[in-house]
């Protein structure tokens, strides 16, 4: 009795494991018995007139997450005048990358380059130059936070209106001048006009403030800069 029960159990386990395996071999193009039965049933339905009058042609709509082109970054270049205290005014050029956090605020990184001229002392005395040519290179970077204080529109003629904004900017950074890096605080204002949705024209005024001990005594210098720039949103 006991042996019989065990044999039954053994056989059923074999069957349970082997049968799905056999089905795999037998599968493929040969229709499974269940399928045959089903198609037979549907044939029967046809003859009985149960076939729907209009076959619904349902096409699955492809679900795509909306990929919206976000244009929060702004990249551009500028060109202008930088007054280097004691060292004349000179042309300055630079690049600018901004990220617009909201309609009111943005953060901005700028890198600029200029070259210092001669001090009045050097010109008048005819003495040896205070700085050699390499040390007259003036480069700076600034990381700033900006606020679009006065957004608006400008009207050119009767039919054209362009978006604009007057903004305030404050930041920190460093200036490399006379061979050394100097911690620099900068601030200023700017005005931007957008001729199209992706292009902006800027006019900026910045003050770069840092300590310098080049002429013997440590003092604070204010280097004012005014520049025109062009940037694109992406």
């Amino acid at each position: 009795m006991e042996v019989h029960r065990l044999r039954l159990l053994f056989l059923s386990v074999i069957a349970a494991t082997a049968l799905p395996g056999c089905a795999m071999f037998g599968g493929g193009d040969a229709a499974a018995p269940a399928d045959i039965a089903e198609s037979a049933a549907s044939d029967a339905n046809d003859t009985l007139g149960n076939r729907p009058v209009i076959e619904p042609q349902v096409e699955r709509r492809e679900i795509k997450r909306a990929r919206i082109d976000t244009e929060d970054f702004e990249i551009g270049a500028y060109f202008g005048v930088l007054s280097i205290e004691d060292f004349e005014s000179n042309t300055v050029y630079g690049g600018r990358l901004a990220y617009h956090l909201s309609e009111d605020f943005f953060i901005e990184g700028t890198v600029g380059r200029s070259k210092a001229g001669r001090t009045s002392y050097e010109t008048l005395s005819g003495a040896a130059a205070l700085l050699d040519d390499d040390d007259r290179n003036y480069t700076y970077y600034a990381l700033s936070v900006g606020w679009n204080a006065l957004p608006g529109e400008v009207f050119i003629g009767k039919n054209r209106a362009y978006n604009s904004a007057f903004y305030l900017v404050a930041g920190i950074g460093s200036t490399t001048f006379a061979g050394d890096d100097r911690f620099t605080v900068s601030g200023g204002f700017g005005y931007r006009i957008l001729p199209t949705d992706w292009l902006a024209v800027h006019f900026d005024v910045r003050d770069h403030v840092f300590d310098i001990d080049l002429l013997g005594k440590k003092k604070i210098v204010n280097n004012l800069e005014a520049h025109l720039g062009l940037s694109i949103f992406f």
Binding site: R61, A66, I68, D72, L143, D181, F183, I232
Partner: protein, 248 residues
């Protein structure tokens, strides 16, 4: 066309192409609010120039901060605020999924970046940082520092772990630990000083304050150990007085 003009022409066509994208590639939405207002610019003050009623379809051309530029079937373009876009539907009938970095998903923030100003052993310091959060508490952070000091200028890059103790609090303390490299360049006026690069390790802590929308403030202290090639290691106190951070 002269050969030097070619890249410029290419650039212009590229930007022009970027401006005029084919409509069928752009996502379409269905207006579910009684109506949506189209402003002339991406800002709350710009006048409403057009209105689209419920049930009409518009395409989203682009997005700038919280404003969406949409185009109607009559080719009228305007900017719609996020608040109204939430009440629109995708063609499938689902509400438009706009994952927003705002207070309601402050907890699900993953990426953050920011700038900080401080003091590194007496030298002024400018820092930029970016971080990725694995979980609500733990994140990895890369910081680039520039310390233009009185006698030398130093640059450092550090990679560290940051553990925010109670992330759901508006102001939460955190703990940070990491390592990196520091490069010190003595001032030109100093004689016989050499540039040197050393490894640096730090342990520190700070407070992170959630400001509004996607902005945060933070203040941090780090105790640095510079593993110099000399006999003694150097300990430097670093105070990052104030930092401005945003998450996305």
């Amino acid at each position: 066309m002269p050969h030097w003009l070619r890249p410029i022409a290419l650039l212009i066509t590229f930007f022009a192409a970027a401006g005029t994208q084919a409509d069928d590639e752009l996502p379409k939405i269905l207006v579910a609010d009684p109506y949506i207002e189209l402003h002339s610019g991406p800002g709350r003050g710009y006048p409403v120039v057009h209105v689209v009623e419920r049930g009409r379809e518009v395409v989203i051309v682009k997005r700038r901060t919280d404003w969406f530029q949409v185009r109607t079937d009559r080719d009228i373009e305007g900017w719609v605020p996020r608040a109204q876009m939430i009440a629109t539907l995708e063609p499938t009938g689902e509400p438009l999924d706009l994952q927003e970095p705002a207070r309601e998903n402050y907890m699900s923030r993953r990426w953050q970046g920011g700038i900080m100003a401080g003091d590194f052993g007496g030298a002024s310091e400018v820092s930029v940082f970016g971080g990725y959060a694995f979980s609500d508490n733990l994140s990895i952070e890369l910081t680039l520092n520039h310390m233009p000091g009185e006698y030398s200028a130093a640059y450092s890059a550090t990679l560290g772990l940051m553990h925010v103790f109670v992330p759901e609090w508006r102001a939460s303390p955190y703990f940070t630990l990491g390592t990196g490299v520091i490069h010190v360049k003595p001032k030109a006026t100093l004689v016989q000083a050499e540039d040197r690069t050393d490894q640096i390790g730090y342990v520190g802590g700070g407070i992170q304050l959630y400001l509004t929308r996607r902005f945060m403030l933070r203040t941090e202290y780090r105790n640095n150990i510079v593993f110099t090639s000399r006999d003694d290691n150097e300990e430097v106190d670093e105070w990052k007085y104030i930092g401005f951070a945003f998450f996305f």
